[in-house]
Amino acid sequence: MILNGTFTFNGPRAKVWELLQDPAVLAKALPGTKSLTKVGENSYEGVMKVSVGPMSAAEFAVNVELKDQVPPERFVMHVDGKGGVGFTKGTATIELLEIKDQAGPVTVMNYSSDMQIGGKIAAVGQRLLESVGKMMTKQALDALNAELKARL
């Protein structure tokens, strides 16, 4: 599943970068995260419960690794998730650009991701996968933006 898009954060790039590196913030922002802990220099482990309407059974054990980091401009995220309803594996490339706006600096994030999804959800969930992906991405980015505003 390919999900590309753009999101504007209301704050400076350095702050956005900081948030993206903080597992406590990510745990709150990523929808359905039950836990997320840093286990290495650039790697995290966690448990995420994805709930879409009545489909509440999707719990995943997730490994995330951050690579090719060029702070505060870009990084690549490798995600590996396994659960009872299937697995997901893929890469997301995040780019941050700071733009001076009259109201103050804003950060434009360009993201491009390619996630392979397998197992049961891939087999019977095709109709909804892209919508769910878009929804989770939006929820996560909105939550991060809210956290950013709270910290400024």
Partner: protein, 291 residues
């Protein structure tokens, strides 16, 4: 495809049902027609630990009319609505839409409340609620509240109904004078989830200009989409063929956010949204003129 184990309750009243849902907060799911929930449970994509079966509560199934319009109980079977003479005479758009929902066997069990509360973006009834600007009554142990359709559908499978609450009544306003409506959808096979569907209600003023329009599209986003740009094109104007084309272009271009899946690309969905919006508006305005 056998479900995981669950606890089962069959209350005999709405109050009993609401208490059970509140008691098992978060872990309990209400069971209405079961046409979406049970397959999800059989696939083990949904694993509620408690099911509260609403099928033993006859007081939730009814179709009544009063001065303001129609009132339909949440557990009313879709098939009953489809065959109701009251619905055909007072809510013709609803009568026109019902046969497009899945198949008769499914409509025999499926309920209006279940379908609207489930809020599948490809379902017909949620889009119909938006086009009719229905009022949705939500009940809980704290009481009742009413939410207009325009504020009811919040996201993918997400509505204003909170865990522990039930959608107990749907209120449909009466059709206004000089109004017309139409429904069209395209699906791969009869009874399938629509690739795209459009449902519209339009009203003409005494001069024959478009006084008001509500156009809702299904299967083009994470919820039924109200085509606000298309409506803006139509309002106050004479509904000519060119105007209708412009409205259809606006709907397909700006009002929707279709996804791609294995059956249709986003681009193809936009094409269908354009063609169907045009055809639905043509039919609705024609019916408004002869009303």
């Amino acid at each position: 495809m056998k479900p995981a184990a669950f606890e089962y309750f069959r209350p005999r009243s709405v109050d009993e049902a609401l208490s059970l849902l509140a008691e098992h907060d978060g872990d309990a799911k209400p069971l209405a027609g079961g046409q979406s929930l049970i397959p999800a449970m059989n696939f083990r994509l949904a694993t509620p630990s408690v099911l509260v079966d609403l099928n033993g509560i006859p007081e939730l199934g009814y179709i009544k009319d009063d001065a303001d319009g129609l009132r339909i109980g949440g557990m009313t079977r879709q098939r009953q609505i489809e065959r109701s003479p009251l619905i055909s005479s007072k809510a013709p758009l609803m009568a026109e839409t019902m046969p497009h929902i899945a198949h008769v066997a499914i409509r025999n069990r499926g309920t209006i409340g279940g379908s609207v509360a489930h809020a599948d973006p490809a379902a017909e009834l949620p889009a119909l609620m938006v086009a009719l600007n229905a009022e949705l009554e939500i009940s809980s142990t704290q009481g009742k509240r009413s939410v207009p359709a325009s504020e009811f559908f919040l996201g993918l499978f997400t509505t204003a109904v909170q865990p522990g609450e039930l959608l107990t009544e749907i209120r449909i306003p009466l059709a206004a004078e000089r109004s017309g409506s139409a429904f069209l959808e395209i699906s791969r096979r009869h009874g399938d989830f629509a690739l795209v569907g459009v449902v519209a209600v339009v009203r003409l003023d005494a001069q024959g200009l478009c006084a008001d329009a509500r156009i809702a599209l299904l299967s083009v986003g994470d919820r039924p989409m109200l085509a606000e740009q298309a409506i803006a094109v139509l309002k106050g104007q004479r509904p000519s063929a060119e105007l209708i084309r412009a409205a259809a272009d606006a709907a397909a271009g700006g009002d929707i956010d279709p996804s791609s899946d294995i059956h249709a690309s986003a681009r193809y969905r936009r094409q269908l949204a354009n063609v169907l919006t045009r055809r639905v508006l043509e039919r609705a305005f024609e019916r408004a003129r002869s009303a």
